[in-house]
């Protein structure tokens, strides 16, 4: 067996020059489209994801699916055929996409206050434009932003982050595609960072039980970091929108 | 009122007829429908034929292509039959992949070709391990009114009889192929199996050459395939049980009919061959 490549160098830098606990650059924007009720775009490193939210609206299709005590949350994960270096055959419908859709739904369901919208439906669509590792976390984060943009009440932010173990010892966060390929197991966590509740956890391979706590802690820390970034983006977006509608005056007064 | 009665109580309507030993289309129980065969109807195919059994219409077109023989059977070519029951032929079928019925019929036809030994796949080999003919025999049902296997076999074998293949000069070393379009050899058919279908109602009543309506209402079918003077398949895929005597009776009836059908195929191909000669 060939020796695994060192993912973290001796001076503590990763292949792309990050430190072990450093996230990739996150850039995001809310309200990219006008037709959906809410939309958002997020870049985490090179991974780029668009999310759109429609709803809450009347249940489409089979009416009998409607629930009397909560809204139906419907998620669709789709990957543009050009998003990976090898061209994909289909944007969705394959096994991996369906799995992603289900996982996405599970994570978002934990945060959305579905009980406020009985007999209705909320659609969340995510479209991956460029996949470069950490696709699932980017999707969750984008969907959270889109939900906030749509004005759907959430319990709190739901953020996701991946983590892995470098050199069998050092936990590191926000795994890129290159690291996914070279490295060992990847742990993905979707969490409610304020209450520190984990809503979804997935491992790509097995972890040694001794390593698990520290990697998990790292991933959770990553979620919290992302939350801070998202929070900032939301605040500035709200301020931007506020400016154009005229209530910024009041907010500025308060600031003063 | 008859129409409404038929729609609401189809089985009763049917039995009322059978009580008088006559079928809804006016035939007796042992009377089959007229058969029309027309060979070489499609010029884009290497061989083709249309067979009509009553209203049931099946068209068969045979396309010849070149391919490499399988490693298990290096000296054999291919004959690939497939039956399509498109939504065009009956409202029973929906667009999309072949229905179960089409798949079963395809398999039955393929089995009959294999069982009867009517063709020798080695005739289709051009160069061992390198090059062989692949004959695609595609059957399309244009009007589905019962006894589909009978019509398919008639169309298939008439079409096969009209196939002639151009001579291929193959150089194995250079992998070069040269075709002599003028030098055509007719495809050899060693025998012509023909089939007759019977429908069974109430474990006792047997009807030869049933229509789609009769097949629907009946509780079983038997298809008997005859080749020359031998049997080549007696297929009763479940359904109402019948006695041995009844079954043997069916076989005898179909042997009679087989002679007529065989002649019909001969005349149909003869006519077209004559035309070509002219």
């Amino acid at each position: 067996m060939s020796k695994k490549k060192e993912l973290v160098s001796k001076i503590g830098l990763r292949l792309d020059g990050r430190r072990a606990d450093e996230l990739r650059r996150v850039r995001c924007k809310m309200g990219v489209f006008s037709q959906p009720d809410g939309s958002a775009y997020i870049e985490q490193g090179l991974t780029k994801v668009l999310a759109a939210v429609y709803g809450p609206h009347q249940v489409r299709g089979n009416r009998s699916k409607a629930q009397h005590d909560s809204a139906i949350v419907n998620c669709q994960f789709s990957m543009a055929v050009f998003s990976t270096s090898e061209r994909k055959k289909r944007p969705r419908g394959d096994r991996k996409s369906s799995e992603m859709s289900i996982h996405l739904r599970q994570a978002l369901l934990a945060a959305i206050k579905v009980e406020l919208y009985p007999w209705s439906q909320i659609d969340i669509y995510v479209e991956v434009l460029h996949a470069d590792g950490g696709v699932y976390p980017a999707c969750v984060n984008a969907a959270t932003l889109a939900l906030i943009d749509a004005g759907i009440p959430l319990k709190e932010y739901v953020c996701a982050c991946s983590a892995s173990l470098a050199n069998n010892d050092i936990p590191m966060v926000d795994i890129s595609h290159q690291e996914e390929m070279l490295g060992g197991p990847t742990l993905t966590i979707a969490a409610l960072p304020m209450s520190e509740k984990i809503v979804l956890m997935e491992m790509s391979q097995r972890f040694h039980i001794d390593h698990l706590p520290k990697v998990m802690a790292k991933a959770l820390k990553g979620c919290k970091d992302i939350k801070v970034i998202l929070d900032e983006a939301v605040r500035s977006h709200v301020e931007d929108v506020g400016c154009s509608t005229g209530w910024s005056n009041t907010s500025q007064k308060i600031k003063v | 009122m008859a129409k409404q009665y038929k729609s609401l109580h189809p089985i009763k309507y049917f039995r009322d007829y059978l009580a008088h030993d006559i079928r809804p289309d006016g035939r007796e129980l042992t009377k089959y429908r007229p058969v029309i065969i027309n060979a070489n109807s499609v010029s884009t195919a290497e061989g083709s034929a249309i067979a009509k059994v009553g209203k049931t219409t099946v068209i068969c077109g045979i396309k010849a292509e070149l391919c490499q023989p399988k490693t298990e059977t290096p000296t054999q070519g291919f004959l690939i039959p497939n039956l399509e029951l498109p939504p065009l032929c009956s409202s029973k079928f929906k667009p999309g992949p072949p229905s179960d019925q089409a798949q079963v019929a395809t398999k039955v036809i393929a089995d009959i070709i294999e069982n009867s030994g009517c063709i020798n796949l080695q005739d289709l080999c051009i160069s061992t391990e390198k090059l062989a003919w692949c004959l695609y025999a595609d059957l399309v049902c244009l009007d589905h009114d019962g006894s589909i296997i009978d019509a398919c076999l008639l169309a298939l074998f008439t079409a096969l009889k009209t196939v002639s293949l151009p001579k291929v000069e193959y150089n194995a070393e250079l992998d070069s192929k040269n075709l002599q379009m003028d030098e055509r050899t007719p495809f050899k058919l060693y025998n012509v199996p023909v089939s007759t279908t019977f429908a069974i109602l109430d474990e006792t009543v047997l009807m030869i050459d049933p229509t789609a309506e009769e097949e629907n209402l009946c509780t079983g079918v038997v298809t008997i395939v005859i080749k020359d003077d031998e049997l080549c398949s007696v297929l009763k895929p479940g359904g109402s049980p019948i006695t041995e005597e009844k079954l043997v009776d069916c076989i005898k009836q179909s042997m009679e009919r087989a002679k007529l059908l065989g002649k019909l195929i001969d005349t149909a191909t003869q006519e077209t061959n004559d035309e070509i000669d002219k």
Partner: protein, 216 residues
């Protein structure tokens, strides 16, 4: 190839209730072929397949490996029709009965084996039946001799093979499937032989059912 204990091979072996989810199931082995059959029913059925006056029977034949193809569809249809005839489907209107056959090992007379397994599974499930069904295989070798319960090798070399399915009440023919070519007389002889073979199977059914209830 083990060819020694031919007598042992010809006697079928079966075992009930190996599967816990189906309403009736059996592992059935005959000659060198083994199948598992499971029966679900009466169960809910899709609106498109629902029949108002009787139950709808569905059969799934799963080959040993790979996905079912065109040939398996023919087996499915034959087994389905046979089961439908044997069942009193009018007792279960607007519901469905599913028969699932999983091929485990194929060593000749697979159709017979599947049909008999389906019958035993139906017996196990307690769904009402008009009569029992039993299948028997025989083949015609190149010299014109008939062989009952042929091995796979014999079947491959045979000029023709015959599968017959009989019902238990009057011994009439429910199904017939043949390969190869043959004369009418040969067909009749084969029919006779298989009928005798089917009687043994019926006897066997009685024995195992007795065994099953006595055990309890």
């Amino acid at each position: 190839m083990e060819m020694d204990s031919n007598t042992d091979c010809s006697m079928p072996i079966s075992n009930f209730g190996n599967l816990t989810r189906p309403d009736g199931s059996t592992i059935y082995s005959q000659g060198k072929s083994t199948v598992i059959a499971g029966v679900y029913g009466p169960i809910d059925v899709k609106p498109q397949k629902m029949l108002i006056d009787r139950g709808s029977v569905e059969t799934f034949f799963r080959p040993k490996s790979g996905l079912p193809g065109v040939g398996d569809r023919l087996y499915e249809t034959i087994i389905r029709n046979i089961c439908e005839t044997a069942l009193v489907s009018t007792l279960y209107p607007r519901s469905g009965i599913q028969v699932v056959i999983q091929e485990m090992q194929s060593g000749g007379e697979l159709i017979s084996c599947s049909v008999n397994a389906a019958c035993l599974a139906l017996l196990d499930s307690g769904i009402d039946m008009k009569f029992l069904i039993a299948a028997a295989t025989c083949c015609l070798d190149q010299e014109g001799y008939l062989i009952v319960d042929p091995t796979e090798l014999q079947q491959e070399k045979a000029k023709a093979t015959f599968v017959f399915v009989f019902e238990s009440s009057e011994g009439r023919i429910v199904a017939s499937h043949t390969t190869g070519t043959f004369k009418l007389e040969q067909y009749e002889q084969a029919l006779d032989l298989c009928k005798k073979g089917s009687a043994k199977i019926f006897e066997y059914y009685r024995k195992v059912i007795n065994g099953k209830y006595n055990k309890k």
